[in-house]
């Protein structure tokens, strides 16, 4: 509801007085109309009847010139119930905007604090909670893939999607500082269709709970829709800035030509395998399932180094070396060294450099 601006600061007499009052009322009306149009969004168009071409979109109305008395700043409208018109919210850094479309009303934008990162086994979760602690958004990933997105409200409303149903989520690459973004673009979540439980049991497989059961409530009142849409861009710090996730031992710096970089130390696991022909491959995985592998021939000479789709082979693996093998003991501790070792895109023989490795890794003794 628009506010009526009271311009009275004295008592002008007669016609001048009523002219000023009329002007004030006119200004207030213009403000109210402009705000209502901005909140309602573009006018809906009727669906065309079968066999007919869609109607041409209605011409946009001419923009309303704001009256000069208003200061040039974001206007905060009196708050309406949460499931009705949205408030226009300006999230100033380091707060992050979460845009939530809940039900038929306009989207709600809330400001969340810094992204929290949680590691449970091989699952990494990114959490964002708004400052008023009304909403918690959680994105679960493993092996670079999205497992689940869940949104839980303090009022009991819960929405979630799983696996391939979570379209619109992107895990960005690390930049030169090792930071990255998790982007959600109109990700559709179902109300209560998949448990949106966030807490100690959130990491366990849904299969353990038997057939999928609705655990989310229908929400307050009857106005909640069957689904929600979430958009957000979550900033995630570098792993070495995250408690419990930083590399503490031997580390390899992996850098790309565009400046993107990350530290790799295989906290997710390390080991070896022996092929039928006696060749060995040593593998290191990080918490997100990315694997750095070193392959040796039967004479324990490095024949290939790979990291995802990037690799070098044979003599192209310059700067890669390792400690001597312990005779008849594949499970002994072994160290690997990388000095500006270049990995090439799409196979080891390509001359298109992709990544550079610098550092060392240690495979702990297996027995």
């Amino acid at each position: 509801m628009a506010r009526v601006i009271d311009v009275r600061d004295g008592r002008p007499s007669g016609a001048a007085h009523w002219a000023m009052v009329a002007a004030a009322v006119l200004v207030a009306a213009v403000i109210g109309i402009g705000l209502a149009r901005g909140l309602a969004g573009p006018p809906a168009t009727e669906a065309p009847a079968a066999g007919q071409a869609p109607a041409a979109p209605a011409a946009k109305p001419a923009p309303t010139k704001p009256p000069p008395v208003l200061p040039a700043r974001t206007v905060l409208v009196d708050a309406a119930p949460a499931d009705a018109e949205a408030a226009l919210v300006d999230c100033r850094a380091p707060m992050q905007a979460l845009t939530l479309a809940l039900g038929p009303g306009a989207p709600l934008t809330v400001c969340a604090g810094a992204t929290q990162v949680r590691q449970m086994g091989s699952m990494r979760s990114y959490l964002a909670q708004d400052g008023g602690r009304q909403w918690v958004l959680q994105v679960d990933t493993a092996g670079g893939e999205v497992l689940r997105v869940a949104l839980q409200g303090r009022d009991g409303r819960a929405y979630a999607c799983e696996g391939s149903d979570c379209a619109g989520v992107t895990l960005g690459r690390h930049d030169a500082r090792g930071t990255r973004q998790v982007t959600l673009r109109s990700v559709a979540l179902r109300a209560g269709g998949v448990t949106a439980e966030i807490g100690a049991e959130a990491a366990s497989s849904a299969e353990a709970r038997g057939p999928t059961a609705s655990t989310g409530t229908a929400g307050a009142g009857t106005a909640d829709a069957a689904r929600a849409m979430v958009s957000a861009r979550l900033a995630v710090g570098a792993d070495d800035q995250l408690p419990g996730l930083a590399c503490t031992g031997p580390t390899v710096a992996i850098s790309a030509p565009d400046g993107a970089s990350q530290k790799f130390c295989g906290q997710g696991g390390a080991g070896f395998d022996i092929a039928d022909d006696g060749t060995r491959t040593y593998q290191f995985q990080d918490f997100e399932g990315r694997t750095l592998a070193v392959k040796l021939d039967a004479q324990h000479v490095i024949t290939r180094v790979s990291y995802g789709p990037y690799a070098c082979e044979g003599t192209a693996c310059t700067g890669a070396s390792m400690s001597a093998a312990e005779p008849d003991n594949d499970a002994a501790e072994r160290s690997f060294f990388f000095g500006r070792t270049t990995l090439f895109e799409a196979g080891g023989s390509s001359k298109r450099a992709g990544l550079q490795l610098n550092g060392s890794l240690v495979l702990q003794g297996q027995p």
Binding site: G121, S122, G143, L147, E201, G244, I274, D277, F287
Partner: protein, 268 residues
């Protein structure tokens, strides 16, 4: 003889479980010392197979040989197997390192070559520390380890307690494998379910109490080696796959039920 102390709450739960096991006829007292077979289950529910369950006071038999083997694959206890893969991985709960998972793959074969039987044994064991992982300050306990297996093939299960020393190969466990089955439901999951669980042929369950600082007074920081044998015609994936081992704290002494999924070797 090993006597394990327990809490009154645990006493009541054990009494209920033991009664259920005896009633279901699944408790074997024979002196078997070999793999036990878990066939593909056709029904929607399955009853866990007893190996060495705890009695009413929380104790286990030191002589019961059901499901138990006396060495790792490739030893005299399980001859004919060669090691193909081995890895270790930190077990991380709420960003805290609570222990280490050891994961291995053996196959029937000679030298470095698996033979044409495509018979593989996947083995895992856990070593926990006493790090506090939540505000309670308690250490993390693992009551159940679940391993992804081929759902359409029969599976043979066994466990090895270790012998002595500190290496992953031989360090001794102090609590035996209690139950096994083809399910993804563990202790108190769901609450009151006892030994009857929802069938899931794609997972092998191993129930063994592992804790470096156990509230029941009996610490066992090392679990037994938990082995599952299957025929895998397409071999196995030499890169550990995400979400293929599930570790669960079941609340045996009132701890909050907490589970995590981690990477592991798996048959193709």
């Amino acid at each position: 003889m090993t006597i394990l102390r327990t809490s009154p709450r645990r006493l009541a739960a054990l009494a209920a479980s033991a009664a259920a096991a005896l009633g279901a006829g699944s408790l074997s007292l024979s002196a078997q010392a070999a793999f036990v077979t878990l066939p593909v289950v056709s029904g929607s529910t399955t009853t866990l197979t007893a190996c060495n369950p705890k009695n009413a006071s929380g104790a286990q038999s030191p002589t019961l040989a059901t499901c138990k083997v006396t060495g790792l694959p490739g030893s005299a206890a399980i001859p004919g197997y060669i090691l193909r893969s081995s890895r270790t991985a930190a077990i991380t709960v709420n960003g805290v390192n609570v222990g280490t998972l050891y994961d291995r793959v053996w196959c029937l074969g000679t030298g470095t070559t698996c033979n044409s039987t495509n018979t593989y044994i996947l083995g895992a064991r856990i070593n926990l520390n006493a790090n506090a992982w939540d505000p309670s300050g308690e250490s993390f306990e693992i009551n159940d380890l679940f391993r992804a297996i081929r759902s359409a093939a029969s599976a043979d299960v066994a466990y090895f307690m270790g012998t002595s020393g500190t290496s992953a190969d031989t360090a001794p466990a102090f609590k035996y494998l209690e139950y096994t089955g083809r399910t993804l439901q563990g202790l108190n999951e769901p609450s009151g379910s006892g030994l009857t669980k929802t069938t899931n042929n794609g997972w092998a369950n191993f129930r063994a109490d592992t804790n470096a600082d156990d509230p029941d007074g009996g610490n066992s920081p090392w679990s037994p080696w938990m082995l599952v044998r299957q025929v895998c015609p397409s071999g196995y994936n030499t890169t550990a796959q995400t979400q293929k081992i599930r570790l669960r704290q079941g609340g045996e002494e009132g701890q909050p039920p907490t589970a995590l999924l981690t990477s592991a070797y798996v048959c193709n």
